[in-house]
Structure formats: C-alpha cells, structure tokens
C-alpha cells in the first residue's frame, strides 16, 4: 500500500518534470538549441493564468483563463523567437544557451515586479478534491497532470513523426541550409516551435500551480526537468516523459528509505549513473559520424 502510494505520487510528480522536459525537447528537436528559460516559461505561464483567473486579479472563469493563458504564452514564445532569437539564427548554440539564461533573469524580474515574490496560489478547480482508491490518495491535479502529460506526449510524438511540418522541423534542426534548399521556411518553422513550447510551458505551469503554490523562483524546477530530459535522451519526446517519470518516482522512494542528507541527491546520482552507462540517455538520438 505504502509502496503503491509512493509510486503513484511519484508518477504524478514525474509527469510535471516530463511536461517541462517536453518543452526542452521540442525546442531541441526543431532547432537543436537548449532553452534554459523553459522553467521560467512555466512559471510565467502559471502566473499569467493566475492573473487571468484569480479573484483579486481579472477573475475570469478558470476554463476561459486556462486556454487564454496557453494562447498568450504561445504568442509570447513566437514573438520571442521573432524579435530576439531570430537574430541569432545560424550562430552557435552556446550563444542561444547564454541568451536564454539571461532571458530567465528577465522573466523572473518581470514576474517579481508584476506578481511579487511571495508564494501565490492559483484558484484552480483542479486543486480541489482528492481521489481515494483503496487507500491510495491522488489529488485531482495529479490525475489531471498524468492524463494531460500522456496525451500531450502522444500528440507531439505523432506530430513530429507523422506530419510534414514535424518532419520539416526535424530537418531544420539537422541541417538548416539543406532545409532551406528544400524550400522549408526554416525561421518561421522555428518560430512555430517556440510558440508550441510556450503553450506547453503554460500547460505545465497551470498543472504545476494546481498542485501547490508558485513564486517567481518556481522555474528552478527546470533543472530537475533537465536531468529528466537527459536521462530520457535529449531530443526524444517519449524519452522526456520516461525520464520525468524516473526522476519523479525515484524521489519519494529515496526520501522514504534513504537517510536524511542522502535522499535529496538521489535524482542527480541517478542521472550520473544513467549517463555512465548510456552516455546519450536511454533513447539515444546521437550517432557516430560515418567517415
């Protein structure tokens, strides 16, 4: 029973990591850039929703506010690419990494100015009520997280695998010049993926905020999601989910059974172990160059 509870909570938790990791992987799959601000995107998405729905702010019904927030974040992601990242087109990925790190500073600052630094709670119907199945308790928000994450992963996976646009995105990440030669509007395609990752971040943010409180530093979570994405094999969408679940599940078990001082390092030790045995993650996307 106890083990089952730990497992189920771990899975729900892992889905949050998985959701943020999806955001990383999306960007990586389509541009090979790494967005260090994805965690902060999530935080922003949560705050935008909060701003739209909470009573002391705009007081819209949650089911109006949530799609609206997703839309806002998608547009924001697209505009970010349009006005900022596009200027770095063709430049080294380290430049993009540094840019997104700096962007994280700015997003945190803006969120702090608008919403303050104290933790706030999203008035979400998902945060009310638990489900109790034979003694294993799961919050509504947990259920929602699991369902949404699995669906989203499937959707995105299909998108990349089956659609022409998805294929074009993969092509653009592998060889920008050749993608242009094929008539793919590479920059616009990359803008779309930033929009999509903004939307994903908003979804993650809404679900995360339904599970607990948020503050401008909530994006720090992104680091653990990074670990998840890498365990899964950066660049694989199912990998992101699996990585997230692994990190999510290891945590409650480690806190339950390891001594204080050791438990909180479990996800990172796990990460290192995985990398020692599979240097490119579980679902590797890296190849040896043929010469």
């Amino acid at each position: 029973m106890e083990v089952l509870q730990l497992l189920v909570s771990g899975l729900a938790n892992g889905c949050v990591y998985g959701l943020i990791a999806l955001g990383f992987v999306l960007i990586y799959k389509a541009t090979e850039a790494v967005n260090f601000a994805q965690g902060d995107f999530m935080m922003l998405g949560a705050f935008v929703t909060l701003g739209l729905t909470n009573a002391e702010h705009m007081n819209l019904p949650f089911w109006v506010a949530a799609p609206l927030a997703i839309l806002v974040m998608a547009v924001l992601g697209y505009l970010l690419d349009f006005f900022v990242l596009r200027r770095l087109f063709g430049q080294s990925q380290t430049a993009v990494v540094i840019l997104t790190i700096a962007l994280g500073f700015v997003i945190r600052f803006v969120a702090g100015v608008i919403w303050g630094h104290e933790p706030q709670t999203l008035e979400s119907p998902l945060s009310i009520g638990d489900i109790n199945i034979g003694g294993v308790v799961l919050g509504m928000a947990d259920v929602a997280v699991i369902v949404v994450t699995v669906l989203l992963t499937l959707f995105l996976y299909q998108f990349f695998q089956r659609t022409k646009l998805g294929l074009a995105m993969q092509a653009a990440s592998q060889n920008q010049m050749a993608a242009y030669y094929m008539g793919i509007p590479v920059k616009r395609v990359q803008g779309l993926i930033w929009g999509l990752s903004g939307a994903t971040a908003a979804i993650a943010g809404i679900l995360f905020a339904s599970k607990g409180a948020i503050d401008p530093n909530a994006g720090l979570l992104g680091i653990k999601a990074f670990a998840a994405a890498v365990i899964g094999g950066f660049g694989s969408l199912p990998g992101a989910l699996v990585g997230g679940l692994i990190v999510g599940v290891i945590e409650p078990f480690a806190s339950r059974y390891f001594a204080a001082g050791y438990s909180q390092i479990a996800p990172y030790v796990l990460l290192l172990l995985v990398l020692v045995f599979r240097p490119n993650g579980l679902f590797s996307q890296v190849r040896v160059k043929k010469v």
Binding site: A227, V230, F234, G235, G261, Y268, L275, P279, R287, V288
Partner: protein, 361 residues
C-alpha cells in the same frame, strides 16, 4: 597596418609576436602594478574581484573554449580548491605550499571526475556537470568534519614569508597577490596554446574522428584538459574564498557555475582575452548598474531586482550584438583601425550562416 617579417620559426612561437605587442602588454602590466596608486579601495576591490573571475574564466575557457567541453559544474571545482587550501593551511602547511597544492589537487580530482564524463558530449556533459555542481553542495554538508558543513569556514590571514595579506584590511596587498596568480595562470594558458597539448585540445574540439586518426588519444587529452582547467579553477576558488572571507556549502552554487559559462561566452570563446573581457562584464557590470542607479535615482530600492533584470537585458543585448563574444568585436575594431582608412563600412557584416546537427560525432 603592421607588416611582420619573420626570420625564424621561433618568431611564431614567441610569447609576444612582435615588439609592438610586447610594448602594449608591458604597458598594461605597468598600469596594473601602479593601479593601487590611481584607484581607491573600492575600485581596487572591484579590480581584484574581476581578476579573480578572470582566473576562473581562464580555467573554464581552457576546457570549453579550447577543448570544446561545456561544463556547468565548475563551481564545484572552485569549492574543491577553496576548501583544500584552507584545510591544508589548517593542517599546518604554509600558504606558499598549500596554495599551489590546492590547485594541483583540484586538478587531479577534476581529472578523475573526468574519466566517467569522457563519453559525454555537448548537452549531456553540460547537464552531468550541473549535477556535479548540485551534488557538491550536499557533499560539502556530508563531509562536515573536514568542511565545517553548513557553518562553513573562515580562511586565515595569508602569510608569505612573514608578510601578512588580508582582503579587507590590506586590499592592496591582496590585489598584488591576485595579480601575480593571474599572470601565472595566463602564462600557463599561453604556453599550453603554443605547445602540442594545446593543439591536441583544439583537435579534439573540432573533430574527434580525425584527431584519433592523427594519434591523439581523445580520452587522455580530455582528462588533461579537465585536470588543467580544474587546477586553474581551483586557484580561482581559493582566491574567491579569501575575497569573501567566509564560505560554506552554499557559496559555490550552481548560479556561480552558470555565471562562469556566461562570462566566457560573452567574452569570446577560445581566447585569453575573452576570459578577461567576460570577467569585466559579468563581475563588474552588476556593480556598475548599482552605481548608475544610485547616481540616477538614489540608493534606495525603487523596483526590487531591477539590477538583475537590467543585467539580464544587457547580457541579451551583448549576445545579439556579437554572438562571437566581445573578443570577436574587439578584433573587428582593431582590424578597422589597422586598415584605416581603407576599411569598408560593411566589411564586418555577418554573412548568413547556418548550423548543422551536433548529434553526429
């Protein structure tokens, strides 16, 4: 434009390519030596800080800029250097022995840590080193008997042959100490670049396949790069510990690791100058912003976190303005002056460029 006539192969491996460069750097050194007579305590403190960051930057640059291995965990090596030095001194070693040894030990530890990391590339290495940075915090706590755990340590006053050096009460002496260390590290860096190992680093960075075909042992070269990088970083960490006067598990955090990487990229990857330019931006800009804000709207807080926000914004502008780093821009400015008045305005325009996947090795 200067035209060089080289008369021997030696000309190409000299520390300074020509008289003019030698003169420039000699002047720079003279300025550095005279600086305490020109600046007040505050600015000497800041210059010292910039130099310490530059040393740390040199350490990371050797690994990331030269060998192409991105590390987001170098704060851990700052910590190792810092703790090792203090522990050695507490064990009775004089500073003059403990300090070099601290760097060497950090280098050895770094080299050992590198072994499992050898097969990692790009983002995988970056994230693995992030984990290292995070774990360092916990390990310091777990090693309480040596590290003082969360209460941290306070480094003792430095004595070199009876001469006392302390950051806060004797800022000028401390400045000279840092200056000497900076010069030594820069010299080591330069030496490596003109020796076979430096070329092997670049070979590993640009093409592991053909480096191997040329007989470069990839793993061994990376271990050396890690080791040397960590040695320099360890020294920087020691100096940082002295500069702060106190340190604990939270001092060398992931934020420091990230700042370090940011610094060398903004400065310009793969060059010594880049480490220094980056240090000026990253270590002094927040302070400059604070001073600017003080001058404009008084010292008290109008908008909390404003400096950090503006700092982020400026970094974004830096990257957009010159993705190759400040050193790249510096070279262009220099070329412009050298060609003067023949430089075309659009000569430095960026031609369109395109990326290819890094998922093939």
């Amino acid at each position: 434009m200067r035209i060089l006539f080289k008369t021997s192969y030696n000309d190409d491996i000299r520390l300074f390519p020509d008289r003019w460069t030698l003169a420039v750097y000699a002047a720079l050194l003279a300025l550095a030596v005279l600086l305490p007579m020109l600046l007040d305590e505050f600015y000497i403190g800041e210059v010292t800080n910039v130099l310490i960051w530059a040393v740390a930057g040199l350490g990371l640059m050797l690994l990331t800029g030269q060998t192409g291995q991105v590390s987001l965990g170098h704060a851990a090596f700052l910590a190792i250097g810092c703790y090792t030095n203090t522990i050695l001194i507490e064990a009775g070693l004089p500073f003059i022995v403990a300090f070099p040894l601290a760097g060497v030990i950090t280098g050895i530890v770094g080299g050992i840590i590198a072994i499992p990391a050898l097969r990692l590339h790009g983002i995988y290495l970056a994230i693995a080193t992030i984990a290292l940075s995070i774990l360092a915090d916990d390990i310091i706590v777990l090693l309480d008997p040596w590290t003082g755990g969360v209460s941290g340590k306070f480094p003792a006053v430095i004595t070199i042959f009876g001469l006392e050096i302390e950051r806060w009460t004797m800022p000028v002496r401390f400045y000279y100490l840092v200056l000497v260390v900076t010069m030594i590290c820069t010299l080591f860096y330069r030496n490596l670049l003109r020796a076979p190992l430096g070329r092997a680093f670049a070979a590993v960075r640009d093409s592991e396949v053909s480096a191997t075909a040329m007989g470069v042992h990839i793993a061994r070269t990376k271990v050396k790069a890690f080791g040397l990088s960590c040695m320099i970083t360890g020294w920087a960490g020691t100096l940082m510990g002295y500069y702060a006067g106190a340190f604990n598990n939270e001092t060398f955090s992931l934020v420091i690791s990230i700042t370090l990487l940011m610094m060398i990229v903004i400065g310009g990857l793969g060059s010594i100058h880049g480490a220094f330019f980056g240090a000026v931006v990253v270590a002094f800009l927040p302070q400059a912003l604070s001073i600017a804000k003080g001058a404009m709207i008084g010292g008290s807080v109008a908008i909390p976190g404003l400096e950090t926000g503006v700092f982020g914004l400026i970094l974004i502008l830096f990257i957009l303005f010159e993705p190759m780093g400040l050193y790249g821009r510096w070279l262009k400015i220099r070329t412009w002056f050298e060609l003067f008045p023949f430089a075309r305005k659009d000569m430095f325009r960026r031609q369109k460029s395109y990326l290819k996947t890094e998922r093939l090795r």
